[in-house]
Symmetry: C2
Subunit: 477 residues, 2 copies
């Protein structure tokens, strides 16, 4: 495994150049996060569809168990069970607009991952980088378990476990465990663990920090890269369910899936589940004894159990929803942990928005009113007083609003509209409104015909654990 | 499936241009041989090792269930569950000799398959084509179930089921059901069903034809491409055993396999088997309740059951050996059917050569003496009088020898030496003599570290059943 070790050393040095001055040494984390032999065990999956250009290049890399869609280049990186989803990559000739200035793409956009280590990370591109819109870049980045890189390029960045970098361009940042950042262009910032930070320059800012001692119960990474806490425990319980799915060449197609819906062959559907029209269940989602209503979707690393989604719901990457009834249009943000039980079920009223990184760990039945925003840390109904607000009320806010640990400043209406607009965009992109017409097709319809290339690393010798340097694509033939 | 249909039409027209004047219309055969939907079902496997250059290009083709090793290009072809084994491809700079003239290779040799339809066919290159030694070509060729193309380029050729084209360059030929040809450069010949023809220009000629009515009992193809007979029945019995092997991403490595031996993850080892040192069991071999001794090998489409191989045995592609004890060094030729039973077992003495396409369908116990050649159709011990000769005696023959349906002319010693030399070469190439030194490594050792690319055809739309046009290889990256 000499070559794989050399890649790890190389990544550590490249990331530490930027990050060590900010107090993180990624070297021990890289050494210990995943036992080396695991990098040999898993095949990588490259999904091919007639809707996405076929182009995949990788060099000096390990890709164990990762999933790729769309034009991708990976160099000198280790990707472990990560999902790289390029289904919103822009195409040659597309017009993009940054700060009111329009420009046309010279080439198809490509996801470029270099000198990076991603563990069970979700990368979903929808690039906001104005410097080079043809390239969606993850450079000198270490991202730990179940972190999300979404619509974001990251350079010299460390992402703690269950953290999210959303729609931002991050240069040389540290994103703490379970922190969420969506703040435009950010440089040399440390986002502390459990901070939920949403900022639109000159418009609004949402700032929440989990109470002291809470995040550690749910997510904790020690200096050796070992992760503990309720989130990883919950996720680990279902690990075994993915073994047959990822060891079968062509998993059996499921019955009772409407033609307009897509359930990835690499998702787990367990127990009695009902999947509605125009629904989308992507790879590595885990659904058990639940109803996924019409136009609803479950993204990567979603864990949904004993729950109902009434329709047009979005459960963003990493959302966990247990014993919860979700009204129509309810949105559950990234990495939220909505944990009801049989005795303490949760009901979320229609049109409500569960903010990213919300934890509802119900000790008693909890009911979230319709058309609300809910955030932070909730265990009892009474906690809603300081963690929930009507969206109409929030929209009226203009100055500064402090509710519990949340500070909101700026234009509440702009904030609510931005969220609603984005959720609507997600539904459209995912094909929730598909009506047979071509322009209403979304991921649920476009990804149906995916076929797969399944790739294995070298199993011995100095190259052991490395993937053969390779380019796949029509343009090379 | 419009595109796949177009490829079939294209192949039919290209092959018929050459073959129809010789009395075969491949169009109905192509239409009916394999139900169309099967071409969707299976993934193709591309084996990567550090010993073989990584280079695989395919265009406008279906590759369902096929296995590839080494530099390969496939264009406008349909390969169904075929094995394309390029582990003897020559490399840039290698010196080759034809008719005493030496020449150096400008490029790595590549297997080039174009306008061809191969069904469960074995292609093992060891090119004898002096026209272009850098290219091993299968052009405008239709090869039916379990035929072998071995060390041979074929252009405008039709191969019937269980036929073999061995070490020859064939132009515009028809090779009948269960016929075997190894006759140098052959043009516009029809080799009738059940003929076994071995010829070395100006040196010797071996000519055997099965008695009338026999071949049809074992292999028969009707004009609609439907194949019947004992061989296909025997093979079909074990079909189900391959299902788990080909549907598991990484089949479990077997226990009790010596480090110096290789058992392909795509072989079936069933019941109580013993595998010796330096043994080689390749993909699609089926071994049941048998002993494979030291340095023995079982090639593609071998079916070995309730048998013992004492060591250094070669069972060539498609050999079937049941209830048979094989002494040291016994060679079983291509597509032979050595069918003993519990009550009528077969014993083959050491150093004997079972000629290609021999059928021993034992009605009583049969014992083949040491150091013999055996050929043709044998059901009783007494049949050996007309189907078996001591190799020493054969080596003494100089003029014409007629034994039953066999006519042998020419230099018997040259014939015996050529066979012995070739068998020795096979053992060396396969690593039977491996002693830890690098120069004794053969396929058994070199293929151990194979990792796999597993490729799926498009599952819907006009491209349904076609593989994405693709090039895989370092040189493209």
């Amino acid at each position: 495994m000499e070559k794989l070790e050399a890649v790890f050393d190389h990544i550590a040095s490249r990331v530490n150049v930027n990050i060590k001055p900010m107090g993180i040494d990624v070297k021990p984390i890289l050494q210990n996060a995943i036992p080396r032999e695991r990098h040999l065990l898993y095949y990588a999956f490259y999904a091919l569809t007639t809707d996405h250009p076929l182009s995949f290049r990788f060099k000096n890399s390990n890709l164990a168990g990762s999933y790729f869609l769309g034009k991708t280049m990976v160099d000198r990186s280790v990707l472990y069970k990560s999902d790289i989803r390029g289904d919103e990559l822009k195409r040659k000739g597309d017009i993009v607009e940054f700060n009111g200035v329009k420009t046309k793409l010279f080439y198809d956009e490509v996801i470029r991952i270099m000198n990076s280590f991603l563990v069970k990370t979700l990368v979903h591109n929808n690039s906001k980088n104005s410097e080079m819109p043809e390239v969606f870049r993850i450079l000198n980045t270490v991202a730990m378990h179940f972190s999300n890189i979404h619509g974001t390029t990251t350079e010299g960045v460390y992402l703690g476990p269950f953290s999210t970098a959303d729609l931002s361009v991050l240069h040389n940042c540290v994103v703490g465990d379970f922190a969420y950042v969506q703040a435009g262009e950010v440089s040399r910032e440390i986002i502390e663990p459990g901070r939920v930070w949403i900022k639109a320059e000159n418009l609004f800012e949402f700032n929440y920090i989990f109470p002291e001692g809470v995040v550690e119960q749910y997510v904790k990474l020690d200096e050796n890269g070992q992760i503990t806490g309720k989130l990883i425990e919950y996720v680990d319980e279902t690990k075994e369910d993915f073994v047959p799915v990822y060891s079968t060449i062509c998993p059996e197609p499921l019955e009772n899936i409407p033609e307009s819906s897509y359930v990835s062959p690499y998702a787990v559907i367990k127990g009695r589940c009902e999947i509605g029209e125009n629904a989308l269940i992507v790879q590595r989602a885990h659904i058990e004894n639940s109803v996924i209503g019409r136009g609803a979707n479950a993204q990567e690393n979603c864990y949904i159990k004993n729950s109902v989604f009434e329709g047009n719901n979005v459960t963003a990457h990493g959302g966990k929803v247990i014993h919860t009834r979700n009204g129509k249009n309810v949105f559950v943000g990234f990495n939220s942990f909505i944990h009801g039980t049989e005795d303490a079920p949760i009901v979320i009223g229609r049109d409500s928005i569960v903010m990213p990184h919300t934890i509802i760990d119900a000790q008693e039945p909890i009911k979230v009113p319709e058309n609300s925003a809910i955030w932070g840390y909730v265990t009892k109904q009474a906690d809603l007083d300081t963690h929930c607000i009507s969206l109409d009320e929030l929209a009226k806010s203009t100055g500064e609003l402090t509710i519990g640990n949340l500070t909101f400043t700026g234009d509440g209406n702009a904030f609510v509209q931005a969220f609603r607009h984005r959720i609507e965009h997600i539904r459209e992109e995912n094909g929730a409104y598909y009506n047979g017409m071509d322009k209403t097709r979304g991921h649920a319809q476009k990804t149906q015909d995916a076929c797969f290339n399944i790739l294995q690393p070298f199993q011995s010798g100095p190259e052991m654990g490395m993937y053969p340097t390779m380019a796949i694509g029509e343009q090379f033939a």
